[in-house]
């Protein structure tokens, strides 16, 4: 996996994506070698088990293969596009299964909070910006956004954890996201 360790070069990923959209299986394998490790790390935070994570990763790459022609480099980087697919594949998988135990989330929660409390110098301006804006949210709302994004919590799971009705969770999530956007200087 030496390729996976390299910093991703957007132009090269785009070229691979174009080949994959054309049905090139060799390019697809190279794309897998490049991205599978990163995507698996993201999926594992959401999926409840290694087996589920592997299944979601498999589904992710089948979706990438089937929908490569939908990727538009003008809109997002190939890496971001694949992350969105991976997160949804993982979320689809866990929503089909039994409800997860909330306790498991708490530890990762704290780890996340700690990380966000002090972004390392290695994190770019963007990370520090998002971290500052997340800090501006009320603690409950920040937790909701983080649990949803990082661990794939549904509105229903958040509703139980925070003891708020589902429609309220939806409203709070949307308000928080809009506040984040304004804080980040979104137009």
């Amino acid at each position: 996996m030496s390729e996976a360790g390299r910093l991703s070069q957007p132009g090269e990923l785009d070229a691979l994506m174009a080949d994959v959209a054309g049905g090139d299986e060799t390019a697809f394998r190279r794309l897998y070698d490049r991205m599978a490790g990163k995507l698996l790390a993201i999926i594992r935070r959401i999926a409840g088990s290694e087996a589920a994570a592997e299944e979601a990763l498999q589904e992710t790459f089948l979706r990438i293969w089937n929908h490569a022609d939908r990727y538009d480099p003008a809109l997002a980087s190939a890496s971001t596009w694949m992350v969105t697919i991976a997160r949804h594949a993982a979320i689809d998988l866990i929503r089909r299964g039994p409800e997860r135990v909330s306790a498991a989330a708490v530890t990762i929660d704290e780890e996340l909070a700690e990380r966000l409390a002090g972004p390392s110098p290695a994190d770019g301006l963007e990370a520090r910006g998002l971290s500052r804006c997340l800090d501006g949210l009320e603690p409950d709302r920040r937790q909701m956004v983080l649990l949803a994004y990082c661990q794939g919590w549904s509105r229903e799971e958040l509703s139980r954890r925070f003891d708020r009705p589902v429609p309220t969770v939806k409203t709070l999530l949307r308000r928080s996201l809009i506040a984040l956007k304004e804080c980040l200087g979104g137009r």
Partner: protein
């Protein structure tokens, strides 16, 4: 969309911007999610909003170290590419039901199509625009239970129920049954009229099926209950 390219109602929780954000966050319910994915492929401003949110929130993944997957994952993907994915038991069951129904309904199929040809304009109104394909989904008795019309230009499937409603504690679910490969859910069909975004390709000759599922739809992504209605897509013109 306003003329300056901004998404309107910025502060509104019901705005496209908020929908795009929640899509990326992953908290939309299944119906909203399907609608968002449909919109994603047709509305550039919405697709741009989704891309922006993806880039912004991806910062939360930046601290993760890659985890090398075991080689069996790639083998599974390769098998999937070649279309030799193990069909779920439910799919096999669905196929068996379909074979049985094909025989059971062969004699009534023509009658159903004739009925539909007469009844379609009335059943489908006030549907705007031409449908590219139609299918009459009938049950064992041969009477039409659903009329499906696919509009490939709009990317929609319109479903009109002309038979009985599902039992109160159950849902009807619509499936695409390809010649090979697993069935694909096209969503729950409990209302008398449904207009659904269509995010899979459909072609004449392919079958649509309705199965009876737990309320809200199959929990597994494959049909779990009996197939009660079945029909073949035909060109509308």
């Amino acid at each position: 969309m306003a003329a300056d390219g901004k998404v309107r109602d910025e502060g509104d929780e019901g705005s496209p911007e908020a929908e795009a954000a929640e899509y990326v966050l992953g908290t939309l319910d299944p119906r909203e999610r399907r609608a968002a994915e449909w919109r994603l492929r047709r509305d550039l401003a919405f697709a741009s909003a989704v891309a922006r949110w993806s880039e912004q929130l991806a910062v939360l993944d930046s601290g993760l170290s890659p985890v090398a997957p075991p080689e069996r994952v790639w083998r599974g993907i390769e098998a999937g590419l070649k279309g030799v994915v193990q069909p779920a038991a439910d799919t096999a069951q669905l196929r068996r039901s379909i074979t049985r129904w094909r025989f059971a309904t062969a004699g009534t199929a023509l009658a159903a199509v004739l009925v539909a040809a007469v009844a379609l304009p009335r059943l489908l109104s006030p549907s705007p625009g031409p449908a590219s394909y139609v299918a009459i989904l009938g049950g064992e008795g041969g009477a039409p239970a659903f009329v499906a019309s696919v509009n490939t230009a709009e990317g929609t499937i319109r479903l009109r129920r002309v038979g009985a409603a599902p039992p109160p504690d159950r849902s009807f679910e619509l499936w695409k049954v390809p010649a090979t490969g697993p069935t694909v859910s096209l969503g729950v069909a409990d209302s008398e009229r449904e207009l659904k975004p269509l995010d899979v390709a459909l072609a004449p000759g392919e079958r649509l099926a309705i199965s009876v599922e737990p309320k809200g739809g199959s929990p597994t992504g494959q049909a779990t209950g009996p197939v009660v209605y079945l029909g073949t897509l035909l060109p509308a013109e």
